[in-house]
Amino acid sequence: MTGAVVAKVRGTPLHEFPENLYIPPDALRVVLEETFEGPLDLLLYLIQRRNLDIMAVSVTEVTEQYLGYIAVMERLRIELAAEYLLMAALLAEIKSRLLLPKPAEEEDAEEDPRAQLVRRLKEYERIKQAAVELDGLPRLGRDLFPVLLTADLPPRTPNLPKVTVDQLADAFRQVLVRAERGRSHAVPRESLSVRARMVRLLESLGHGKPVAFERLFDPGEGRAGLVVTFLALLELCREGRIEVLQREPLAPIQVQLR
């Protein structure tokens, strides 16, 4: 451990974890948040510091130490991640079981929490090791760099869309069909929409105040829509429902209900 910086406290590097339980109060949070990847990692550290095999470890001893950390944290009122407290509860349970005589018939009722914990520790240890090895693999962008060369390609004539004469004839037929359809239905549809537009114009003038002439038109409707609005305005004028005002030449034109 000596030599490697295990944690930094306000810029001062710590080269090893203090023996036993003492960790400078300021360091505790840093150690738990930045050095350990959670309670399993802290437990592994406590076990490995003793150079012990997980199977051979004295749960009582590790539990004492772990709970000791938690107690210090609580005394210092450092907010602990929930996972650490959960582990503390599990360890406390294991410890209490060890103190009690084990009734024989309960053997298979549920998995021994100690065995379960050991299994989790071993699995985590494996993954922790795998992560280190993964990081050690040669990696593209860090250790290996892909070769991507520009190719000297001649300027390409832009690949323009192709059209055949049949497509062209087809397009024109469609135009003619549409034009024909438009003509045969033009008269009834147009008069209907002018009627409807007159109603809408009366509604938008309903509050009695004059409205700017241009505001009555919605350019988004396109030509046909604009023409219908204009026809509707003319019709409303003719029927004497509205009046169109201009205070002086070139002044804005206003429309209001009569």
């Binding site: 070769v147 190719a151 869309p161 004469v165 062209l168 003619l176």
Partner: protein
């Protein structure tokens, strides 16, 4: 490690060309001087002889590139997407082809919608249509016709070869 190999590695991995100044600064720790660098570059250029890549000096510096001779194969890596023309463009072109000469107003009257300037520009850029005069009405709108290039691109010798339209004879017969 020998210098030409390091320079080769740098140039092969760099997404941008590297000039002598950049290379020297990348090799500052090794205390490489300009003469050594230039010798290395000359050697790398020679090493490319007979190989599909070459080391060239472009505006931003030196770069390896795949030789032009390989473009028939390399260009297959980057197939170009062929666009498609919109229905609006085809219809505009069709109206001009079948009803020429026409103004934009004529096209709008036939199609029932506004003709976008973009479409006219595209058709002019392909040299399929051109302005042949102005209609003697207020505003003197441009009159469009199709071109000889239009005929050539559509494999026609004359406009009369455009497919006949049944609707042309009897305009009300639209089934």
């Amino acid at each position: 490690m020998i210098l030409p190999d390091i320079v080769e590695a740098l140039l092969l991995a760099s997404p941008e060309p590297l000039d002598e100044r950049q290379l020297l600064s990348l090799l500052a720790d090794e205390g490489v001087d300009r003469g050594e660098l230039e010798a290395a570059l000359a050697r790398l250029r020679r090493n490319c002889e007979g190989r599909p890549l070459e080391l060239v000096r472009v505006a931003g510096g030196w770069r390896y590139q795949v030789r032009r001779e390989f473009s028939p194969w390399v260009s297959r890596l980057f197939p170009e997407k062929v666009g498609r023309y919109s229905r609006a463009l085809l219809e505009t072109l069709a109206v001009i082809a079948y009803r020429q000469p026409v103004t934009r107003g004529d096209i709008e009257a036939i199609r029932g919608v506004t003709v976008s300037s973009q479409i006219i520009r595209t058709l002019e850029a392909r040299e399929w249509i051109r302005v042949v005069g102005h209609k003697e009405v207020p505003g003197r709108p441009a009159l469009y016709r199709t071109t000889d290039k239009f005929l050539a691109d559509f494999n026609l010798e004359a406009l009369e070869q455009l497919p006949p339209l049944p609707a042309d004879e009897d305009k009300t017969n639209t089934d």
